[in-house]
């Protein structure tokens, strides 16, 4: 499966440009709707996919989130970024999907664990050690509770502040920090024995050192 880096496709947009775009979307301007979708879909999908680990579910959540956002755009508070609001909606839909899926066979895109982060070129420059390290980290992240996983993904992957994460998850900032800190403790607890067996975890593999 082909892969993309959402960080490369996200376009910067000023607050004023965003508000103008939203005004046009409220008038049901198809070009503006399309532009708004294209501006946010990659980042949103990256977050949702990391949460549900299933391509079809992730696309369906993103579609639902956009449709709910369009339908309720009149209630959008422009003091927030549109992306924060959209992520809030998507997070709630994600939780519903995960709840619905609970008790059924987990349908995870396992193929993507095996070569996480690997187009052919990228794989060539990734050492086996770095690949195993990434795989162990993501497998551990998948074991976190949904709020902890969301906090970790928004903090590290989406580079959001604790304040923004609080808005997305609709919880106080202190709770975001609590989720983050507990998540770190759990990840450390799970990863430490694996890493101790394989290598010296104090050393970052060359390919991960940036």
């Amino acid at each position: 499966m082909m892969k993309s880096d959402p960080a490369e496709t996200a376009a910067p947009q000023t607050r004023r440009e965003e508000q103008e775009l939203i005004r046009r979307v409220k008038r049901r301007d198809p070009a503006a709707m399309r532009q708004l979708i294209d501006l946010h879909k990659e980042r949103l999908f990256a977050f949702v996919w990391r949460m549900v680990r299933n391509h079809h579910d992730a696309e369906e959540v993103c579609q639902d989130a956009f449709l709910k956002a369009f339908a309720a755009l009149d209630t959008f508070d422009p003091t927030y970024r549109f992306s924060t609001w959209l992520f809030t909606i998507a997070y709630r839909v994600t939780l519903n999907v995960m709840r619905r899926r609970r008790g059924t066979a987990t349908d995870i895109d396992l193929g993507l664990f095996a070569d996480s982060g690997a187009g052919v070129e990228e794989q060539a420059v990734n050492s086996e050690e770095a690949r195993r390290l990434k795989q162990s980290v993501w497998s551990a992240v998948d074991r976190l509770s949904p709020p902890q996983r969301a906090a970790v993904l928004l903090f590290y992957q989406q580079e959001q502040s604790c304040q923004d994460i609080a808005a997305v998850l609709d919880i106080p900032v202190a709770t975001v920090k609590s989720h983050l800190h507990r998540a770190r403790a759990r990840l450390k607890e799970w990863l430490e024995p694996t890493w101790a067996e394989e290598s010296n975890p104090g050393r970052i593999p060359r390919d991960l050192a940036g």
């Binding site: 369906e60 579609q63 924060t84 992240v141 919880i171 920090k177 975890p201």
Partner: protein, 219 residues
């Protein structure tokens, strides 16, 4: 600074919130203590992987087109349920057409997926109990035995009946809600595990720094 003091500052350090003389003391301890250095390095490597490994599968190329088609279609009261049927139904319908065309040549009878409409289930009727709803679905299945959506719905309802029969608090709540809900609302609640789709779109409000301890089962 000793190790326990240093460890209590790991999160503040990783969150970028350590500064002033405390940061200097922490840095000094880190230089002197191999154990803390190692533990912190593990957390930093973990953060590094999480920050830099941003590659995910690609969205389908027609995602925006499909979304635009849904967004611009006229709103219907049963929009969410219908949309799900349309979303899954589009590819299924296409596949069904191909199979039907093939069956003409091969003589294999193939039935397409039944779309759940008010003719199949009386959407606006209120159901007093899951059993009553289950009877409606069973009736619908008699005339549309090929429908996978109805089969899934029947399964979901049977699970709820079992849940209510178990007499848990959640089961009692489910039972109370059933008396007030139409078939459409029950369908939505089964699809989403809660009926009010609007609730998802409420802007986030509670972002203050007030301490709130999350429930234990969410941690």
């Amino acid at each position: 600074m000793d190790c326990s003091q240093a460890k209590s500052l790991f999160n503040a350090f990783l969150d970028g919130e350590l500064n002033g003389s405390l940061a200097a003391e922490f840095a000094t301890h880190k230089l002197q203590c191999a154990s803390c250095r190692r533990e912190l390095a593990l957390l930093e490597v973990m953060g590094h992987v999480l920050s830099t490994d941003t590659v995910v599968p690609e969205l389908n190329a027609d995602f925006t087109d499909r979304l635009m088609a849904c967004a611009l279609e006229p709103a219907r009261p049963q929009r969410l349920w219908r949309r799900r049927v349309l979303y899954i139904g589009g590819p299924l319908a296409a596949a069904a057409c191909v199979l039907l065309a093939l069956s003409v040549f091969r003589g294999v009878p193939v039935k397409p997926e039944t779309e759940i409409t008010p003719q199949v289930l009386p959407f606006e009727e209120r159901m007093d109990s899951p059993e009553a709803m289950l009877r409606q679905v069973e009736k619908a299945r008699e005339t549309h035995p090929e429908s996978r959506e109805l089969a899934a719905l029947e399964d979901a309802l049977r699970q709820r009946v079992a849940h209510i029969a178990s007499g848990t608090e959640e089961g009692t709540k489910l039972l109370e809600n059933f008396g007030k809900m139409t078939i459409m609302e029950i369908l939505d609640s089964i699809q989403l595990d809660r009926p009010q789709e609007q609730q998802d779109a409420q802007p986030a409000a509670n972002t203050s720094g007030v301490e709130h301890v999350p429930p234990a089962d969410s941690l």
